[in-house]
Amino acid sequence: MKTVMKERRWVEKYPDLGTGPVAAEPCISPEYFELERERIFRRSWLNVGNVCEIPERGDYFVRELAVCNASILVMRGQDGVVRGFHNVCSHRGNTLAWDEKGKCRGYLTCNFHSWGYDSSGQLKWVPDEANFFDLDKSQLGLTPVATELFNGFIFINLDPSPRENLTQYLDGLDVQLKGGDFDKLRLARCYKIDEKANWKIGLDAQNEVYHLPFQHRYIMPDLFLANEKGLVRVMDVTFFNRHSVYSCEMNPGHKPTPLESIIMEMAAAGASHCRLPVAGSDFDFYLIFPNFVIIFFRGPTNDSCVTYNFWPLAVDRTIWEIRCYSAPLQNAAERLAEEFALTRTRLVFDEDATAHETVHTGLKSRAKKYLLFQDEEIQIRHFHKVVEEHVGPATGA
């Protein structure tokens, strides 16, 4: 056991984060949300997916970034390069690709007047071209969006000239997450939850393990290492400028269910073929500011990861996108172990999404002006501080 059970450990390590209450207003204020659009989402590097979703040349996917009023097309060109574009036709601004994912075979054509673009975004075909005026197709490709990759994860930045590249933005996280079999990952499952809650409420609820033995009492009362009172203690919390990571150890005294015992035994007998950089623990939760989370799970033989993208639609509505990645499966035992892991984590989302909404409802009443955080919730305190550094303090709080 590496976890130190002492109380109030993190405030000693990070005294600058303070111990006071934190304003609730930013979670419910429409004015604050409008500022977040401009000062956070339009200027930050935002994850939109992983290269394994577009493995072949011409493959693309579309993400609706309502928070930035943008539809983003991410496509792998014939040259193998992954590029991001505004999903908007150069002719009269129609939305180009309508499907969530697809393949550009030759040209991607606009439904309106059939203008055609190749997989690198170049305009190649205009019906009745001679009847236009001074039309230079070479200057009328799709509008590019800054796009960079990190361990296969695709990030875009809607700032026309981002002030930092992705490596600078990640600020050391890229070093921490070096190595590992990221190239083996495949998208095993995707969940999409449409919740009536502020995006930060959802993110905050995920960004701590204090709630596990309580809110998840049916499904994981004893999964993570806890003190003698059954209160979960994280192994470590580290900050990388805007970003954070906390790590947990599994509880060696965890009592598996009968099915879990059978499945774990089968899984442990398998061959190892995927290792990810889990930082000396069993569970690492990375929050990459503002709205992206990567969670690494150490498996008995193979590691896996789950990502969250919290996409705000409005101050009180968020799409919580969840993607589960793992290495290709080799046999039925691995298939069952994966299903076990997926279904159990799905239950967490199921229970949590309900609570995201009940918290939002509570805060919206303005009965409470402040959120209170204990020492084991210091990562949330950090997140709210970073939000405030970008947006400024809420008025009316």
Binding site: Y218, F340, A355
Partner: protein
């Protein structure tokens, strides 16, 4: 009675597991279908399926391991899907002791798959 090792087009499951055929409706290919089936069943039905499958699971997996996942014979594929349904059904039997997730989220706004 079909002989062991001889393909029987009427059989839903591989020979050694033909006694599980009364549960073949649980051969559901997607997580969404398995989840919906759990939630629309009675806990007594789930318990019966769970009990019938649990003791056989190690043998089922041992049997299925001989096939690559993307080239499973039809009857084995069904058996695999039933095992996946067992994983889904165990949520009700082992955790919540009722078919639905306690404090679960609105299904119309929870997209699976």
């Amino acid at each position: 009675m079909p002989q062991e090792g001889i393909a029987n087009p009427q059989a839903k499951l591989p020979g050694p597991f033909r006694d599980l055929e009364p549960f073949a409706d649980w051969a559901l290919p997607t997580e969404r279908e398995r989840m919906a089936a759990r939630e629309s069943s009675r806990i007594e039905e789930l318990q019966v399926f769970y009990s019938a499958m649990m003791g056989r699971l190690p043998a089922i997996v041992e049997y299925l391991k001989q096939f690559p996942l993307d080239r499973m014979p039809e009857d084995s594929q069904r058996l695999l899907e039933m095992a996946l349904s067992l994983v889904e059904v165990s949520i009700a039997v082992e955790l919540y002791r009722r078919p639905q997730v306690i404090n679960g989220f609105d299904r119309s706004r929870f997209a699976v798959g």
